[in-house]
């Protein structure tokens, strides 16, 4: 559908949050707690913070929770019953205040969870989630979205994109049918769009490296020493994968007490030794450098080749969360240097 422009006043946005809540939707927005900004349920607009570049954790948990029951089981004396997940129990949700990079991240997750085998739990969650993003008017040193073809005012992945015009007004771009539904339902809150130049309203994030210097060129360097070099200071925790908006790798575990049980899907990280360990004790990715290589190649080679979409959206969360300063942007620039040597 064609993108339709509207005007949303700040006061109307406040009203929208209330109305969405009244409408039975769970509204998630960035909330500042103990000096960290993360998505949390809000019942009123004032609970949301405006002071953030991106949240510490990504918004992926709304569609891909960190622990999710994928089926339930019941055991009786000589019978086992499996109970499918009740997809209708998944609540309607609204994500307010995601950044264009977060929204673009959902596209990557979708490419993983759809495909030959469609993961209906993910698909239903996404379908029931309306994403109202807010364009970035600021950025920090860890951001590199423009270098990976994501724009701080980009509409990809969002249902509605808000761009701040001034203190009291937002430009609302209605991107999808789902966004349109919200507008139709609460049409009194939206006004006719003014004529503004959106590009002048969003942050001008500099392009820091040439993506084409990486794409299609790192796979031949699979055995390069650069992976060892880069990952020497990596301590092998799973933080980068857990805060990443596009990391979709998961683990499946059964939890049972002998009468009832659940099969649960939870986040997993390629940074862990256990991720690929065989039961024989053999491990195809037995060192941290191999696991680091897997992470980079997955985002910049495997996902692009399989799904025709780049696996990184340049939000820089991994670099912010890393306790040993594994800065992804820096490593990519360093990688380009190595490739062009």
């Amino acid at each position: 559908m064609n993108i339709e422009n509207k005007l949303l006043k700040l006061s109307s946005l406040e009203g929208l949050v209330l109305k969405l809540n009244q409408d039975g939707k769970q509204v998630f927005a960035p909330v500042k707690k103990d000096n960290i900004v993360n998505f949390a349920p809000v019942s009123a607009f004032h609970e949301m913070t405006q002071d953030y570049i991106v949240t510490a954790r990504s918004a992926k948990f709304v569609v891909f929770p960190r622990v999710e029951t994928i089926l339930e089981m019941q055991f009786s004396k000589d019978n086992i019953t499996l109970k499918d997940k009740d997809l209708s129990s998944i609540p309607d949700a609204v994500l307010l205040g995601t950044r264009p990079c977060d929204a673009a991240g959902f596209k990557v997750l979708t490419s993983i969870f759809e495909g030959d085998y469609i993961d209906n739990i993910y698909v239903t969650r996404l379908k029931k989630t309306t994403i109202i993003s807010i364009s970035c008017n600021n950025y920090d040193a860890k951001c590199f979205c423009t270098s990976v073809n994501v724009h701080p005012g980009g509409t990809a992945g969002s249902d509605i994109l808000l761009t701040r015009i001034d203190n009291d007004n937002f430009l609302a771009e209605i991107v999808t049918e789902k966004g349109k539904e919200i507008v139709n339902k609460f049409d009194t809150l939206f006004d006719i769009a003014p004529d503004v130049n959106k590009d002048s309203l969003v942050a001008n994030v500099p392009v820091e490296f040439d993506l084409s210097a990486i794409l299609g060129k790192i796979y031949p360097r699979f055995e390069s020493d650069i992976w060892v070099e880069q990952s020497l200071r990596c301590i092998g925790c799973g933080t980068c994968a857990y805060v990443c908006p596009t990391c979709g790798c998961f683990d499946i575990q059964d939890v049972s007490d002998g009468h009832n049980g659940q099969r649960k899907r939870s986040w997993d990280s390629c940074g862990f030794d256990l991720f690929t360990l065989h039961s024989s004790g053999h491990n195809p990715r037995n060192t941290q450098s191999k696991r680091w290589r897997q992470r980079i190649l997955h985002k910049f080679v495997y996902v692009p080749e399989q799904d025709n979409i780049l696996g990184c959206v340049g939000c820089g969360r991994c670099s912010r969360a890393c306790s040993v300063d594994m800065n992804l942007k820096e490593h990519l620039i360093n990688l380009i240097g190595e490739l062009t040597k």
Binding site: A56, R66, L232, R233, I235, G238, T239, S266, S319, V324
Partner: protein, 267 residues
């Protein structure tokens, strides 16, 4: 700083060591670990009060051990870790060389664990003030308030195990949580699992923690898990008068005993 660079250069030029683990400038003016393998690389080394990371965590990392003999630029936490690791027979004197700088800028070179012990005995090993106060504050709370405090914090835990990875004393090749027969602690990051994981982590570090605070620094969710370790540090100190990381030839606190250990709760 110059003295460190000079000495590191000498060590690398003479091939006494193969790699110097030290601090360098990271992205956005932060400090991070660097691994210097060529003499000209020593210019990147820095050392000041912002160099807080406990670099001893790298001493047991395979890919670094493989490079050859190590030299580590150690702050007090790292020195204490080295002593504790030595007492647990994880590192040997001939495998590494330690450099450090005193608060007034004097270069120290330790030739053996005895040297480190002597230096450490004159250093301040107390818990940081902020954390000590926090522990006191928590102790004054009611049981319910404390429970609420920890539940609030632990509900954020995403089980990334950064606390485990960042801890230089968590060197097990296979962690208790990675065993699944029985599965003591759930793989998923659920609240009870998070709670049990922190109990496990703290108990396994009881009497071994050198209070470097690396666990809390690594936590992406800013959960003050170091307080748990610090609490056991205080308990061990009070009950058994032992501080970890002061002696390279000491039995582990939790696997030794005195026949007259004092307690007042056993009926």
């Amino acid at each position: 700083m110059d003295s460190i660079r000079k000495r590191a250069r000498e060590l690398l030029e003479k091939n006494t060591v193969k790699v110097v683990i030290g601090y360098g400038v990271g992205s956005d003016n932060t400090v991070r670990a660097i691994f210097v393998r060529r003499p000209e690389g020593v210019e990147e080394l820095i050392f000041d009060e912002t160099c807080v990371q406990n670099l001893a965590v790298y001493l047991l990392k395979n890919e670094i051990k493989q490079i050859g003999k190590l030299c580590i630029i150690a702050n007090i936490s790292a020195l204490r870790t080295i002593l504790q690791l030595a007492s647990e027979h994880q590192i040997h004197e001939e495998e590494l060389l330690c450099l450090s700088v005193t608060p007034n800028g004097e270069l120290l070179e330790f030739t053996g664990f005895k040297d480190i012990e002597n230096y450490i005995s004159s250093c301040n090993r107390d818990l940081p003030d902020k954390e000590s106060e926090m522990i006191k504050k928590l102790e004054k709370m009611s049981v319910d308030e404390r429970w609420q405090f920890w539940m609030n914090h632990l509900s954020r835990c995403i089980k990334c195990y950064a606390c485990r990875s960042a801890c230089p004393m968590c060197y097990c090749t296979r962690c208790q949580v990675e065993y699944n027969q029985p599965q003591w602690i759930t793989v998923e990051a659920t609240l009870m699992g998070n709670f049990e994981w922190q109990i496990t982590r703290t108990m396994h570090l009881a009497g071994r923690c050198v209070n470097c605070g690396e666990c809390a620094r690594a936590c992406p969710e800013d959960i003050p898990i170091n307080l748990l370790n610090y609490k056991t540090v205080l308990t061990v100190k009070e009950k058994y008068n032992i501080s970890a990381g002061t002696n390279a030839n000491i039995d582990s606190v939790m696997s030794s005993f005195e026949s007259d250990d004092k307690e007042n709760f056993i009926r």
